[in-house]
Homo-oligomer: 133 residues x 4
């Protein structure tokens, strides 16, 4: 399965009073990486009135992220269903240290009809195509 | 000048690695208080295509906010101009301890014409009227 | 199982460009509620060098939280293990509308020895005792 | 006066419901840039028990930051006093568009004695030296 990796710039404001990156910020890192990956198709889908909604999010923490640590997010498509798909995430330093593994279930949602719709052809191709992202 | 006071719920995520509320969060506290104060007229103005935009924000820090501290925000209207007005803020504990004093300059902005407009009559009355907020 | 419910003050800054509370903020709401629930024993444990670490977090989203919505977080202890326990969360409006259900796995971690330790007696009693929280 | 410029990665979570970067995030951008600039001397000062505290922060907004915009922060030292100094910031796109100008007053604070102290020699040299940062 094709993987996409992007780096995340950790901010001082991401640190909590333990001196670690707050666990909630990991979800912001995943969102930031996801928006980078899908920005072009997201914009096109939004124009069509189809939103990509997070239906479920999950993260297993392995090691704390400390000030000065490099943070990379690697995303892969781990499941493709009718109107939903699952993305898997690995937060790591690019040199063997893994901070967390995580996943989000994404649903294609027609914002006018207010209900899930089948994954549009264009996005489906993108999710299946190993080279197009 | 009439004052409006509201309490703010400090979150664990507002603390930084020094164990204090991060200075940036003070601006979020002011925004939260301001939105509470002006929610009704804001909604009405937005419907008319007029946005209240922050043109300038300023905060002088006096004492750190620690975990467990009560935080109140007291707002007053400190200046009313043609298309702008200034709000003054006091962040304190309600018992004599002052965390910060601050101000924001607000501009009435026509989002269609993309330029400042005179303060709408309705908002002007609200800003001058000591009892209507 | 005893439940603990607290309200969360939604901030303007929690909203994203869809006009909904951003999904990541739900985890901040859970953290805020959890810190309120466990503030006294947390402080005592921290003094003993034992940290309560989130090892896993998970949230299933049901309905968006919109500006003006009331948000309550109801927490219950759903599993107690040797050195870990699980908290379950319900985010709702207190009047039948459910925004999300979620859970976090908490681990007792000796910050000096850098390894998990059995749940301290004091916390264990609290988790089992239906009336002491 | 020597200037230091760094880029900031805008996150989806920085956007508010108007589709702009929220004004409060500008202060986070400045903090992020400042911590990058001063990370080495900050660490050394912290080791000596001297904290660099923000005593005052101020931002004048010129143009909104939209999704996809590049954001650079340019910092310069605009005033050096006995125990305090002022940093000036320009938030811009590196191609002539200016989002905001801002400043922060920084105070050297002895965290043990709980009072301001003269700017340590090492930091003073850094602030005056145009080439050492």
């Amino acid at each position: 399965m094709r993987e996409y990796t992007t780096s995340i710039e950790v901010r001082f404001a991401d640190l909590d009073l333990y001196g670690h990156v707050n666990g909630v910020a990991y979800f912001t890192f995943m969102e930031t990486a996801r928006v980078k990956l899908f920005s072009a198709p997201f914009r096109e889908l939004t124009r069509q009135g189809v939103f990509l909604v997070v239906a479920r999010a999950e993260c297993s923490y392995a090691q704390p992220i400390l000030p000065g640590d490099s943070v990379l997010v690697t995303i892969s498509v781990s499941r493709i269903g009718g109107s939903s798909f699952e993305l898997s995430y690995r937060l790591h330093d690019g040199a063997g240290k893994e901070y967390a593994v995580a996943s989000t279930t994404m649903v294609c949602f027609d914002n006018t009809a207010k209900r899930p719709v089948p994954i549009p052809e264009q996005l489906s191709q993108l999710l299946h195509d190993e080279d197009s992202v």
